[in-house]
């Protein structure tokens, strides 16, 4: 196990070296980082084979916090779920590290960038390897920190710095839920170790109900919902998704690694990890599913009309995360994780490819200023296309398998299943549409490039394109490990089965006929989306404008992202909070509290001033006062005795 403790530690060591010695290492810092991550990758592969051999590793290193009955260790565990995540994280991270060598070339913060990336990898690995909630929370917050650092990497850009803060603070709202959930878990189970907590679940201690907001709510539901609040923050679900599009202010490799492939899926991972808790509460499961489904559609609608290449992908990410939660919510945990994995590859690919585009265009991100790039950057086009196909769910690309499994599970779910399935199909249509809209606007049609930019357009260096190609390869092939229908074809679900024993796979039961029908339907829907995009955008037609004109209201609403950002800005950035704080400060602290204090002082000072007037300097007045004292004392005495 100690060896595997190196999995997170290697990147951490790399971080320290690159961070502290960055000044001297300069561009060499990248190699340190890459070495760390690749080392972690190698170890992860070893771990994978160990797990495959049936090893289950769980070890505490030292007692971290021990207060009274509360005791938490620093410890890691490696099981099937962990190892999947380890592979996803280390693979993506390695590739993106390598890609960044080219992408970040010449940036003055070069060593800093790599040290942050390594740090991120470290925290991400801690997150997935944790064997208890609190260590997980370390990773959980740590990746948030790195996200903050990397979004704001170009901190001289105000928008970047703002986006970093926004990401962190919104995540904190989620953490609020997470922390309370953890506290409640401890209160209920008396421990935070995953294994012990999950073992306790379903026993009598978890039968407690709380009276909250006028209704009774079982403790399991409460815990699940609180944890899910944390997940919505980290994984950018409604209503806490607002930070993710802004996070695109960071360098593109960051968007690929953190805001597409790994960190944002932490919420999904966490819910999957807590499957033993969630699956005990129907309310919680439904909530997860509904939030996921709604997010999937909601974000997709926004993605339809965005013009910034990275933003489209960002909204797509939110939408895809919604799919994952949709899967988790209906109990298809392995399907969710499967989609997590495939998504990591093709979304990483899409981001990196878009980075390549941006790199080629010297930083241009607006699709309206692109077009006809296909001949100029062929490799990028190719991998981009593969990514779009995978995202749209066109067989046999990776996205097809995972998305299909989700939809099939949703369809089979009880209760709200059908409604959610409908949402999923709707989302699939839109996904295909915006993916290909992106392709066509960027690579086809007429060139709208800035002439100055135009003749600089060039394919990215090998160090960038090779990782792209590797990812493209995965985007094509990775789906096959989760082959549906075919008996024994879903290796992935089988591999994960020990983790989710509570859940019977719906795919296993029942006949395959409806599944095939649904599969065909979803492929058709995706194809329809592709076809529509093809018709509208391949050779710039007037359709999109006409359509936009006709549904001006809706179009603008979508274009403006439902005005959520505006509301957010109004409240948090432009100062409702700050203004209110200022008002409260002047009224509360300055006027009332300090006012009272100063008021007393003034009162005493005033008494002093009027006392000064009484001290008039006339000796007879003094004598009179003495006499008055005498008279009053005698008078008081007289009153006293009567």
């Amino acid at each position: 196990m100690l060896t595997y403790a190196l999995i997170p530690l290697l990147p951490f060591i790399a971080f320290l070296i690159a961070g502290l010695l960055g000044k001297f290492l300069k561009e060499k810092a990248a190699y340190v980082s890459i070495a760390g991550v690749v080392g972690a990758f190698v170890l992860s592969v070893m771990a994978f084979f160990d797990v495959l051999d049936g090893a289950k590793l769980n070890e505490n290193f030292y007692s971290w916090i021990s207060v009274g009955t509360f005791s938490v260790n620093v410890g890691f565990q490696i099981d099937q779920l962990t190892v999947v995540m380890l592979l996803v994280v280390t693979t993506l991270s390695s590739l993106i590290h390598i890609y960044s060598v080219g992408y970040m070339h010449g940036d003055k913060g070069y060593p800093r960038f790599f040290s942050y990336l390594s740090l991120f990898t470290f925290f991400m690995l801690v997150l997935v390897m944790a064997n208890n909630f609190l260590v997980m929370f370390v990773g959980w917050e740590g990746v948030g920190l790195c996200s903050y650092l990397l979004i704001g990497f170009w901190y001289e850009k105000k928008s970047a710095a703002d986006a970093g803060v926004k990401a962190f603070v919104v995540n904190r709202v989620g953490d609020f839920g997470f922390v309370l959930g953890v506290l409640l878990i401890f209160l209920t189970c008396g421990t935070l170790d995953f294994s012990e907590v999950f073992a306790t679940m379903g026993t009598s201690v978890t039968d407690v109900t709380y009276h909250l907001f006028g209704g009774d709510i079982s403790v399991v539901t409460l815990i699940s919902l609180l944890l899910f609040l944390g997940a919505t923050g980290k994984s950018a679900q409604l209503p806490l998704y607002v930070w993710l599009p802004d996070a695109m202010e960071g360098p593109t490799p960051v968007s690929a690694l953190i805001h597409a492939a790994t960190m944002v899926t932490a919420g999904v991972f966490m819910v999957a990890r807590c499957a033993p808790i969630f699956s005990l509460s129907e309310t919680a499961m439904n909530t997860v599913a509904i939030v996921g489904g709604l997010t999937a559609v909601f974000a997709a609608t926004i993605g339809l009309v965005q013009n910034d290449i990275k933003r489209v992908i960002a909204y797509s990410t939110i939408s895809q995360l919604g799919y994952m939660f949709l899967a988790l919510g209906v109990g298809a945990f392995s399907a969710g994780i499967f989609h997590l994995m495939t998504h990591a590859f093709f979304k990483g690919l899409l981001f990196l490819a878009s980075g390549s585009v941006i790199h080629a265009l010297s930083g241009e991100q607006d699709m309206r200023k692109m077009g006809a790039l296909k001949p100029k950057i062929k490799t990028t086009w190719a991998v981009f296309f593969i990514g779009a196909l995978a995202l749209s769910g066109i067989p046999p690309f990776a996205g097809f398998f995972s998305k299909d499994e989700i939809l099939w599970n949703v369809y089979n779910a009880q209760g709200v299943g059908l409604f959610l399935w409908f949402l999923g199909i709707l989302g699939a249509f839109m996904t295909a549409f915006y993916s290909f809209r992106l392709i066509y606007l960027t690579f086809y049609g007429k060139s709208h490039l800035d002439p100055k930019v135009e003749h600089h357009v060039h394919e990215s260096p090998k160090i960038m394109t090779i990782p792209l190609m590797i990812l493209a390869f995965f985007a094509i092939t990775i789906g096959f490990i989760g082959m549906p229908i075919v008996k024994g074809g879903n290796l992935f679900a089988e591999f994960l089965a020990p983790i989710f024993p509570h859940v019977e796979s719906v795919a296993e039961s029942g006949s395959h006929t409806p599944e095939i029908l649904l599969m065909i339907l979803s492929v058709l829907v995706a194809a329809a989306g592709w076809r529509l995009a093809n018709g509208w955008y391949k050779n710039a037609t007037a359709w999109p404008d006409k359509f936009a004109d006709k549904f001006k209201g809706i179009y603008n609403l979508l274009l403006n992202k439902y005005k959520v950002d505006e509301i957010y800005n109004y409240i948090f950035v432009d100062g409702l909070v700050h203004k209110l704080a200022k008002v409260l400060y002047t009224i509360g602290d300055v006027k009332i509290v300090d006012g009272a204090v100063n008021g007393i002082a003034q009162l005493i000072g005033g008494a002093s001033q009027s006392g000064k007037k009484m001290q008039s300097g006339y000796v007879q007045q003094y004598a009179f006062t003495m006499g008055l004292g005498l008279v009053v004392l005698v008078g008081l005495y007289y009153i006293m005795i009567n």
Binding site: G617, Y618, A623, G627
Partner: protein, 100 residues
């Protein structure tokens, strides 16, 4: 026989007149004289009590009071001379440089 209370009432009245004099007159001389009235009121008391309690202490006390009054008058008058020399006034309400 004269009741003791007569003396006491006389002295109380005299005492009060003294106080009123101190409090209301402007001329320092008169104020000082008013104080002598107060002292004399006390003296009447002392002698009367001395008489009625058949102890001589009261009379001794009166002698001392008179002595002190003499010394005090001397000092007071010296100060009045100073004041009148320096300030040209013997009106007590004109001495209020110091106040507040």
């Amino acid at each position: 026989m004269i009741p003791l209370s007569w003396y006491i009432i006389l002295s109380a009245a005299l005492f009060t007149i003294g106080i009123v004099g101190v409090l209301s007159r402007r001329n320092i001389f008169i104020i000082l004289m008013s104080m002598e009235l107060m002292l004399n009121a006390a003296n009447i008391n002392l002698v009367a009590f001395s008489h009625y309690s058949q102890t001589l202490t009261g009379q001794i006390f009166v002698m001392f009071v008179i002595t002190v009054a003499a010394a005090e008058a001397a000092v007071a008058l010296a100060i009045i001379i100073l004041l009148s020399r320096n300030r040209g006034s013997i009106y007590v309400d004109e001495f209020n440089i110091m106040k507040g």
